[in-house]
């Protein structure tokens, strides 16, 4: 019988008497499952955060802030400076009005639903063009705030994550009361973590005079970013950084995403090492239980390669089963689960969903495969080298 046929035959035999080794095998499966589950759960936080923040960014819009600011929070622009941007080359105009929004970004304390304690929620003052410089934003419930009034619209995500943000409720920050008149939907992007109001009202409430922190403008076309950047760089009245909104959000999310990955991957590697020990244990036990059977097969003429391969295959199949189990559980339990956390650069909460992506599941399965191969290899070598005569004598 050629080797492939032998391998198939022996593997089939192994699997058929797996029920006799159920306990050991179950332990290996669950061990791998736990690794993939934890891996998918932790890394889906990074994936979800990235998706939330990146989906907000578009290349059609440029974000302008004072040079060197690491985030809107740290930036500062005067009214004159925003007007300079409005009239710079490369910006999209609707008639003779620039499609833009000069904005103010502050933080307000609102209670978080999950911990019932205060959290820094982003509170943004916008101009009329705010909906036009962002993609896919629309009022979902209630109505848009009226200019000049202490009225707020809240992002859908913010409303579910924080307390007291229902349409019709009022909220007090410091000395000012604000009425919540509506919610907006931004496709699940980071904008939905924010509260929005008229920038003039916010400036007054926070005593910012006539200053802003960022300007968002729609660009004429793909090359406009460079044009705008150059024009503003050459202008001595203004000292700013110009970047596409996509790049801006990328920079904002990098820190936290990298942090989660830096913890998630080593954690998974450690767990995988543990799972390998567990798999080795199971497979050694499996080989010793099947000792006589293997010896019999060898005596009948099956080669050591067949024995070795079939053992590795058994280990891999158990590991993959565990991987599927863990991945499925991660997907069912975690995918779409909403949480929020503090994002360093903006010093405010960002609301996002766990995203158990196909890519993550793929990585998890690859890890399971690796565990299966390593966990099966050494026991397989021992099985292949089993001295046939001694084993048969015990029969």
């Amino acid at each position: 019988m050629n080797t492939i046929k032998q391998i198939i035959a022996v593997t089939w035999l192994n699997l058929r008497n797996l029920p006799q080794r159920l306990a050991s095998s179950a332990v290996a499966v669950i061990g791998v499952g736990a690794v993939v589950l934890v891996f998918a759960a932790v890394l889906s936080m990074a994936a979800g955060l990235e998706r939330t923040m990146m989906s907000a960014g578009t290349d059609d819009t440029a974000v302008i802030m004072r040079r060197g600011s690491t985030s809107e929070l740290n930036s500062g622009l005067s009214n004159e400076q925003t007007l300079i941007v409005a009239n710079a080359p490369g910006v999209l105009k609707d008639g003779d009005k620039t499609v833009m929004s000069a904005e103010l970004y502050v933080i307000a304390d609102v209670k978080k639903q999950s911990t019932q304690s205060d959290a820094n929620v982003p509170f943004r003052g916008i101009q009329a063009g705010a909906f036009d410089v962002r993609k896919d934003v629309r009022i979902a419930k209630g109505r848009m705030f009226e200019e000049g009034k202490n009225e707020i619209v809240v992002g859908e995500a913010a409303q579910s994550e924080f307390v007291g943000l229902g349409v019709g409720e009022t909220i007090r920050f410091g000395q000012t009361e604000w009425a919540i008149v509506g919610t907006f939907d931004a496709g699940g992007s980071v904008s939905e973590s924010e509260l929005w109001t008229d920038v003039r009202v916010l400036q007054a409430a926070y005593r910012r005079g006539n200053s802003f922190q960022s300007v968002r403008v729609r660009l004429e076309n793909a090359e406009s970013l460079g044009v705008l950047d150059q024009a503003l760089a050459e202008d001595p009245r203004i000292d700013v950084d110009v970047m596409s909104e996509r790049d801006y959000y990328s920079s904002q999310s990098q820190g936290l995403v990298t942090f989660i990955k830096r913890i998630g991957y080593p954690l998974t590697i450690l767990m995988a090492i543990g799972a390998i020990f567990g798999a080795l244990n199971s497979m050694y036990s499996s080989v010793s239980v099947r000792g006589k059977e293997i010896a019999t097969l060898r005596a009948l003429g099956f080669g050591p390669v067949a024995v070795l391969c079939s053992t590795v295959i058994e280990s891999v199949m158990l590991a993959l089963a565990g991987g599927v189990l863990g991945g499925l559980l991660a997907f069912l339990v975690f995918n779409g689960f909403q949480v929020s956390t503090l994002n360093g650069p903006s010093f405010s909460q960002v609301v996002f969903d766990f995203a158990v992506t196909p890519e993550l599941l793929g990585q998890g399965m690859r890890a399971a495969l690796l565990i299966g191969v390593v966990g099966g290899l050494f026991p397989a070598i021992r099985a292949a080298r089993l001295p046939v005569a001694t084993a048969l004598r015990e029969l």
């Binding site: 690491t70 929070l73 307000a108 543990g274 799972a275 036990s285 503090l342």
Partner: protein, 385 residues
Amino acid sequence: MKYFGLIWKNVWRKKIRTSLTILSVLVAFLLFALLSALGYAFKGGEDVADAERLVVINKVSLINPLPMAYMNRIAATEGVQAVTHASWFGGYYQDPRNQFGQFPTDPYEYFSLYPELKMPQEQFNAWAKNRQGAVIGREIADQYGINVGDRIPIQATIWTKADGSRTWEFDIEGIFETDDPRGSTAYMLFQYDYFEEARAFAKGTVGWYVLRVKPGADPVQIANAVDMQFANSPNETETSTEAAFAQSFAKQFGNIALIVTLIMGAVFFTLLLVSGNTMSQSVRERISELAVLKTLGFSDRSVLGVVLTESIVIMLIGGLLGLGIGWLIVQVIAGAMGAILPGIYLTSRAILTAICIMIGAGIVAGIFPALKAMRLSIIDALARA
């Protein structure tokens, strides 16, 4: 115990199996040590917070400043022993990724409010005399290789200078340490006077105040007294204990403790399965030996004890090794990355918890096989052989 020889030999019955099980236990407790230390870092120094220190911030949010004028009024409040102030500078050293805390404050007041900070007196004096002087914590000095006498530039992200530049230069006059191993020294202190003079805007304000209550005074009552003074003013205050303040920060990150608990739950669940399986195999293959022990006169209970002790021994060996390695890694991380993860520390409470888990897990993993051993009928067991 004299049975230990027997127990030890039984534990190592099948060397590979026991070694692999111990290694699984090791990994589980290594993870426990690392995650516990990480979770502790996220607590934001809650445990080292002084019970008698209160923090006063702007009620609207932490990023809103408070008037410097509040200083005297807070100091005059009944029950307040001493006050200092600090502000968030928020700059970075050389690279935007090298962000750590820099706080402008008054040297004398700050060090009297924070007596746990230790620095040689000459260094302190030099700093107090130098307007552009600054002192850095040991963790910053180690991480970035900065020494006393260096002149370092800090790039401001918020605070432009009146002359338009954003590069602030400081003379490092001293390096301070803290006498609590759980505390963090990943920050820099410099002179408020220099900050106030050189910054372009927000003059006359500070970020927050820190005060110490008189011994025996009720912190909650004093906190209320301070806040009442500024109620209905343009800048209302919110005063809380340092611990509560740190905790509120930690909570903003989310329920880290819950995440850590869930992960460790999955890890220990798997571990119990692995050890339980090992113990049950171990008992199954020596039923006749256990029966012989009983014929020799070992009581049912002592056989139970022998098996349970084997299970616990395996857990203790692997667990203590894992904890030990974990502790070493935490030391290394704290040294190398103290600035990024301030306060990463394996508390003695965590170690004690781990040991209790080791014993508990040993019992849980071994209980069913041990009961089986206890209950086996000598006659049936020997007849089967």
